[in-house]
Symmetry: C3
Subunit: 182 residues, 3 copies
């Protein structure tokens, strides 16, 4: 815990490091062995699993759930309201806010944007600068604005060949709309 | 006012909340009942109306004017120089910096980028991750990089049908290059 | 040096200004007459030349080298790992992290994203919101996601005519894959 970070939550796991100018609010849950990078923010109602890496400048709002070992790149952005308006007459009722789920091992690249109501599948990979507007399947590799699937990602983060093999030696097979280890 | 925020301006309205690691400079104007989110920055010469929501990590520069009840999503970015260079021989004279105007009730989505010299019309809606390079009409809904108009937005933030009606019951009619309530 | 900034490095040049909530780590090198904007971060192993402008909310990682007089726009993002994974079994070995070089006088626009392993040429210009995935030639002007070259930029930051002339009077000629002063 950096002395210039703020941690108000009593639900932070062992070995988690909170950097300067980061803030974990009361009511936020953060697992063990996480890194909450400089200037990042975890709101009440957000939940992070174990071993999550949050790089600098990431705000994780109520309604966002991040599973174990996910990687959240610098300055990536989450949302929890599809139709945000500031005027009280037009604000979205909290009951209509939408959840976001980042599944085990997924990677979100630098400056990527995740529109709420979506799930990023296990070990999926969102390229730097992508704007995600719909679900990403397990091991899916997406890029662009709006993000499209341009390939598949290995556990090790590299892209797979057409035969669903990685240069690291792992291979995969279809499972649902995504992949699983073969 | 969070004890770890900084407010040097004496032109901040009643009921405005400034979060941790946010900074409102002397010479910045912020209206009443605003929220200046964590890590956000309001520069001398910037002006915010009443009821503006500024989410986390937003820098509002000299030359940017934000009218009442606008919503500035997390990590959205403003500019005030179309040709920034750091070398003093090539810096843009301040007289050539360009203004940006965000009109009443407009929404800027998460991680969107607003190139200066543009006006975002009243109740317009800039989708998350969009890169705005030209004016957006009143109630215009824009998305993409560069941002294009893909529809029209209701006061409530939802998209309108081809007949300019919203599922919330409101309806609209053309006015100038934008819309107004019918 | 703002009292709420943090500077742990003993390699910061004369006349460099570090703003509130910014952090220069021990082992980071920052030249003379730089500006390190509010909430920005310079990691151990990163190096900045003289006269560099770093606007707000920019994290400069180990492996990133920024030459003299470059301009880093607000909320632009760097990376140093092409395949980031948080799980220790799948993390990229540090030896495989990739460098980024921002050459003299280059400009990176607001919210742009720079994928590592790339060089931004001297006096190149990355438009606001662009996502750079490959090298940019000297004086190259790139925009979009992924970024494509859409023209050439003058020392003064403006775009050149087809005859490689600027309205400011300067002219250029081809040199390698980029341009040089004619």
């Amino acid at each position: 815990m950096h002395p210039q970070g703020i941690c108000e939550s009593d639900e932070v796991g062992a070995g988690t490091r909170i950097w300067a100018f980061a803030h974990v609010m009361k009511g936020a849950r953060v697992g063990a062995s996480c890194n909450v990078g400089e200037g990042s923010f975890v709101e009440a109602g957000a939940a992070l699993g174990d071993g999550v890496t949050v790089k600098n400048g990431v705000a994780i709002w109520e309604g966002v759930t991040v599973e174990d070992h996910a990687f959240l790149g610098p300055a990536c952005a989450f949302t929890n309201d599809r139709a945000p308006r500031s005027h009280p007459d037009f604000a979205t009722p909290r009951a209509d806010w939408q959840p976001t789920r980042v599944r085990t091992g997924a990677t979100i690249g630098a400056n990527a944007t995740i529109v709420c109501g979506t799930t990023l599948g296990a070990w999926s990979f969102v390229a730097a600068g992508a704007v995600v507007t719909r679900d990403v399947p397990d091991h899916g590799l997406v890029a662009g604005n709006p993000a499209r699937r341009i390939g598949w990602a290995c556990h090790c983060g590299r892209g797979l060949s057409a035969e669903l093999r990685c240069s690291c030696g792992r291979s995969y097979e279809p499972a649902g709309d995504g992949l699983r280890s073969a």
